[in-house]
Amino acid sequence: MTILEVRNASKAFGGIHALNDCSISVEAGKITGLIGPNGSGKTTLFNVITGYEKVDAGEVHYDGRTITNATPNKVFAMGIGRTFQLTRIFPRLSVLENMHVSAQRHSLRGLLGGWSRSNERQRALELLEFVGIAALKDAQAGNLSYGQKKLLEFAFILIAEPKVILLDEPAGGVNPTMINHLQSRIQELNKQGITFLIVEHNMEFIMQLCDTVTVMHRGTKIAEGTPANVRQNPAVLEAYLGD
């Protein structure tokens, strides 16, 4: 079953076509890899799905609904969480406070109530434990290492209980131990039914983790299939080597 689908999306910045009639689909419960040379439009595609950019043409469908050009908060509330290539956490808040920011409650009582003694705190601590940075809960988030920031961003996405998680280069600039750790967390969550769409340049990471891989080049999809198939696809090789 397809849970997330982009149909014929186009997006231009000035004269540059970041997305050019691009269509991809993501199967529910699977881990899908999204690869392609630099500038092939992967991050733009993420931005379009999560509402950070508006498409010039095309549609985005999620779980039977149209979410084309919905605002980021709506997309997030509907169950699509994302991380950023250069993590976007709240550097001057503590790690635990970061977790509470993304667990929003909009009732007046929820807003005016304290957050430190609620169930939410319990849940936040569990998730920090899950990604492995619970010991840093009182640290200022801006002081974390790059990899720890990535884990924090991952954790505060989880607190909203998303159905689909989009990860933008989770393994980029992170040491091998951390990569393995991250990989096990992703697999763990996937077992519980969470769908993943992952942009990554680390091929080993993608090949080990993903059920299917989609390849983008010049703003559009050029190949799709199992990791093994994609690896042998001549169009893919050309895209990577040809530039």
């Binding site: 931005n47 950070y52 950019e53 950023f84 290539q85 250069l86 976007r88």
Partner: protein, 291 residues
């Protein structure tokens, strides 16, 4: 009808002088991302310098600029180096406080030296006027406008025809990138600040020649200058130019058709209207962050 045309002409002529004062402010913002609250005080200081030279040494107002502009340039560079460069964090906010402190000090010094009494600049061409068709024009308005045109043209040449200008524009576009390609951004900032302040020496003389002033006049000025650079889009020189002319024309016309009391209000109401329609100003870019 003739009154309105007269008001439009006055608006254009004084608008040119405001453009000169605002260009320094918007240029400094563009390069350093700081808001120089002292710009109004610098204008008044410039006016008093011209006043002092004329009173004590009988130096003509326009000739005196050859002295006051370099002096104000050096003052600007010194202020940037001593007070603004040391600010490492929260630079925007702290620079506002620092430049406000500078404005207070300037106001204090001027009050001690010249008292709080209102003064005017005196020269034959300030009181004399000439006639075109049915309109009488004061020489000083025309001279002030021409001075602004010459200086703004000079500023344009400096920015677009010299190596230094290239560095300034690069720093305005992207400070970090400019640093990476070997531009000494701090040096460019100091010189830009100096230029911005030097322009107020000329702007101050032209302002003082058409308006009576005292050390406290800077508040009214800075509020207008800030409005102009927001309207034009912060950091946009051509925006500041258009906004200055537009605002001063509208203000002068309002004074004629409605009442002088409310002319400044229209000035600010227009700001509100434009911000509702176009938050980034006429020629500005939106300030925000995307990844």
């Amino acid at each position: 009808m003739e009154l309105i045309i007269d008001a439009i002409i006055t608006g254009i002529l004084t608008g040119g002088v405001y453009a000169l004062m605002a260009s320094g402010l918007t240029l400094v913002f563009g390069v350093m991302e700081i808001i120089n609250i002292a710009q109004g005080a610098f204008v008044i200081l410039g006016a008093y310098l011209s006043y002092a030279l004329a009173q004590h040494f009988h130096i003509d107002l326009f000739l005196g600029l050859l002295i006051t502009m370099p002096v104000m340039f050096v003052l600007g560079v010194l202020i940037q180096v001593l007070f603004i460069r040391p600010l490492k964090r929260d630079r925007t906010m702290l620079s506002i406080l620092v430049t406000f402190a500078v404005a207070l000090i300037i106001e204090g010094v001027l009050t001690i030296l010249f008292t709080a009494n209102i003064v005017t600049l005196k020269a034959p061409y300030i009181t004399q006027s000439f006639r075109i068709g049915n309109f009488y024009l004061s020489y000083i308005y025309v001279y002030g406008f021409l001075l602004s045109v010459v200086l703004l043209a000079g500023l344009y040449l400096l920015l677009y025809r010299t190596k230094f200008g290239q560095s300034v524009r690069a720093s305005m576009l992207n400070r970090t990138a400019a640093q990476l390609i070997g531009i000494d951004v701090e040096r460019v900032s100091a010189l830009t600040f100096g230029i911005g302040v030097a322009l107020t020496a000329a702007g101050g003389m032209a302002f003082g020649a058409t308006t009576a002033f005292n050390p406290g006049s800077s508040y009214d000025l800075i509020s207008r200058l800030l409005t102009i650079i927001v309207l034009g889009g912060m950091g946009s020189l051509s925006g500041a130019l258009i906004a200055s002319l537009g605002m001063l024309i509208i203000e002068n016309v309002t004074a004629v058709v409605w009442s002088p009391t409310w002319s400044s209000t229209v000035f600010f109401v227009l700001l509100v209207v434009i911000l509702i329609l176009r938050p980034q100003g006429l020629l500005g870019k939106l300030e925000g962050r995307k990844q």
